[in-house]
């Protein structure tokens, strides 16, 4: 079984400032890691994913995340945010062990961009 903790329920940031959204996970097996974004009244859109290889993963809209196995973290970063980045961000994991693996999500972080 896996679990995901998103440490901040809300993160207010000024436009053009950098941002980091934190995600920690626990799992008894190796995992794949994902960040999804959800705009109001829309479904989830994949930002980026870590499957294997380089621990620094680049995604869409200028976002990137770094997998840290020793700290069981997968924090999301963007060097300069835009007003259009206002949304809910979800970190998720799935097990690599085969079988049916639905995603396990964190509770989400609401990113609020202030002009």
């Amino acid at each position: 079984a896996q679990s995901v903790t998103q440490l901040d329920s809300q993160v207010p940031v000024f436009e053009e400032a950098p941002v980091e959204l934190r995600c920690n996970y626990s799992s008894s097996v190796s995992v794949y890691l994902f960040w999804y974004v959800q705009y109001p009244n829309q479904g989830l859109q994949l930002l980026l994913k870590y499957l294997s290889g380089s621990t620094l993963v680049k995604g869409i809209n200028g976002f990137e995340a770094e997998f840290n196995k020793s700290q069981t973290s997968f924090h999301l970063r963007k060097p300069s945010v835009h007003i259009s980045d206002t949304a809910e961000y979800f970190c998720a994991v799935s097990g690599r062990g085969g079988g049916a693996d639905g995603l396990t999500f964190g509770k989400g972080t609401h990113l609020i961009i202030q002009p």
């Binding site: 859109q45 049916a100 639905g102 995603l103 509770k107």
Partner: protein
């Protein structure tokens, strides 16, 4: 082609009513997942299909919840005798194969009065 589509987008039901929620996955996607997202929470896994086979239904909250995918394409999530605690957004996702990226539909927002 088109992404994952779900219908209806909104559903209001009286307590005790049965409802059926439909999901059209991306054409050719083998895996299909249902999730329940309560207000202010992250999505929670309900059930998973590989083609027409329901391989995991461990997340279904009660025996009032039933899902099917008879021809390995369109899926229906049925909730019998709806209760107020069933009010949530129900998300459907599909992937080409298991453990590939899941693509989500816009969800069906269910309100039980």
């Amino acid at each position: 082609g088109a992404g994952v589509s779900q219908s209806p987008r909104y559903k209001v039901a009286k307590r005790g009513q049965d409802v059926a929620l439909r999901c059209d996955p991306i054409s050719g996607h083998v895996s299909l997942f249902w999730y329940q997202q309560a207000l202010g929470q992250g999505p929670e896994f309900l059930t998973y299909f590989q083609n027409e086979a329901q391989l995991d239904k461990s997340g279904l909250p009660s025996d009032r919840f039933f899902a099917e995918r008879p021809e390995g394409s369109v899926s229906t999530l049925k909730i019998q005798r709806t209760q107020q605690e069933d009010s949530a957004v129900y998300l459907c996702a599909s992937s080409l194969v298991l453990q590939e990226t899941q693509y989500f539909g816009p969800g069906t927002r269910l309100l039980v009065l």
